[in-house]
């Protein structure tokens, strides 16, 4: 992973929910910052302990710098830096509206529209879509050497890339066009007035007007956002970007990881940067002692009994380690020569303190 961490401008971490994407994203970002790079990690749903550890705030409108004491403790030195930001789909949509409407008054009118406030929370793929929009903004700004994006937990990780198409379908859909009629001749205008009359009867004039305001105001914004997303899809194919598939030993997560790699190539023509097998027993040291080695006449009966029970658990761990190594070999075969593949160790208690975050970063890029 060293080459990816040191050379890419964007790293996108994808995977099923619960595989540890957020922790891996944070550790990748830390590893890059320690190499002297200016790094931003965009997280989706950090655990409270990780958020407290890294000073991540959901309420922050701008990226937050990692606390000074934590930078020192984790080995980040200038010019390296690490900023974090929590993705808030509503805030990103609001920022896009302010940037893309013609006047502040028009922006405030749209932002205050009840339909807008509800729809932006309900549009399927909004979280994935706004992740792409956020990435577009930061890449254009050039404030960071590397942006690590922790994608939303999705049953299908490809939703992240499919969201622009789904939004385009929404814009081009019949319901949308009912409220945003294209310009036309006299017959068309007459027909539009008739549609308005029918809608007034069904919805009430105020609701119909609010819906029309929303669709007419938001259509232009949505078209520009979709254009940004399409630009990003092209950018994703460049050598500056790596997609990493984070998976765990669980069968469903693995199935999704393989499916994701195949679809990334065939549907989007994007090569996979690598697989990261998280929480893997394959990382356990081979030379660890066995509990039975500690049973002797000097130990108490209680401790000997405990060691015998631990020996049974140890034998189970041996079996799990063999399975984990076989699984890693399977992933390496799938990765082939083009993609990287590595396993990360199980971190007891999860990534909740400096030591565990550094341990994960060390496993990704050996210092």
């Amino acid at each position: 992973m060293r080459n990816i961490v040191e050379t890419r401008r964007v790293i996108v971490c994808c995977g099923a929910g619960g595989v540890g994407k957020t922790s891996v994203s944070a550790a990748l970002a830390l590893a890059a910052a320690r190499q002297g790079r200016r790094v931003l990690v965009i997280t989706i749903d950090p655990s409270r302990r990780l958020a407290d550890l890294m000073g991540i705030s959901r309420r922050s409108e701008k990226p937050v710098r990692l606390p000074e004491d934590l930078q020192q403790a984790t080995g980040i030195a200038a010019p390296g830096l690490l900023d974090t930001w929590v993705l808030d789909p509503q805030r990103i949509a609001d920022t896009a509206v302010r940037a893309l409407t013609k006047t502040p008054r028009e922006a405030e009118r749209l932002l205050g529209n009840r339909v807008y406030r509800n729809v932006t929370q309900m549009i399927a793929g909004m979280q994935e879509y706004t992740a792409v929009e956020a990435l577009h903004g930061f890449v254009k700004e050039d404030r960071y050497d590397l942006v690590v994006l922790d994608t939303p937990p999705s049953r299908n990780a490809l939703q992240f890339l499919e969201s622009p198409s789904r939004l385009r379908a929404f814009i081009d859909g019949r319901i949308f066009n009912l409220f945003v009629p294209r310009s036309g001749g006299k017959i068309f205008r007459t027909a539009s007035r008739m549609v308005d009359t029918v809608l007034d009867i069904g919805l009430g004039r105020d609701t119909r007007r609010e819906l029309q305001d929303f669709f007419q105001g938001f259509a232009a914004v949505l078209r520009q956002l979709t254009s940004n997303a399409t630009d990003m899809r092209s950018y994703f194919r460049s050598p500056q970007v790596s997609f990493l598939s984070v998976t765990s030993p669980a069968e469903t997560a693995l199935r999704e990881a393989f499916f994701f790699a195949d679809q990334l190539k065939t549907q989007f023509n994007i090569p996979l940067g690598g697989f990261i097998l998280n929480r893997s027993m394959a990382c356990r040291r081979e030379e660890l002692a066995h509990p039975s080695d500690y049973i002797d006449g000097k130990k108490s009966a209680v401790l000997c009994s405990a060691l015998e029970k631990l020996a049974r658990l140890a034998d189970e761990e041996h079996r799990q380690r063999r399975e984990a190594k076989a699984l890693l070999a399977k992933l390496k075969e799938k990765a082939g020569t083009e993609a990287r593949c590595m396993a990360l160790p199980i971190i007891q208690q999860g990534v909740t303190d400096v030591g565990s975050l550094v341990a994960l970063a060390d496993a990704l890029v050996v210092p």
Binding site: L303, L310, A311, L313, A314
Partner: protein, 89 residues
């Protein structure tokens, strides 16, 4: 909405007595050996269970960690949950 209860899935069975846990824990703090990951995981699961029990009045049904896949896993879980369904019938 009424919540009938909670199901705590993948709760590993703890084979150690309180004394065994204390003595072994002390040994493992300065001696690394295979099996220790499972031992510390038991401790985490115990703490999580305690937190859960102390924060709710709901009935909590535990399903053990079943090291099987496919139909065997399903059958084992059904056997575990059947009494719960019978109680609510």
């Amino acid at each position: 909405m009424h919540i009938g209860g909670m199901i705590l899935n993948r709760m590993p069975r703890d084979p150690f007595s309180v004394e065994e846990r204390a003595d072994l824990g002390a040994l493992l703090k300065s001696n690394s050996m295979i099996g220790e990951l499972s031992f510390w995981r038991l401790a985490s699961c115990r703490d999580a269970h305690t937190t859960l029990v102390s924060s709710t009045n709901l009935h909590i049904r535990q399903i053990p960690d079943i090291a099987r896949q496919g139909p065997e896993l399903v059958n084992a879980m059904v056997a575990n949950l059947a009494p719960l369904v019978a109680d609510h019938a």
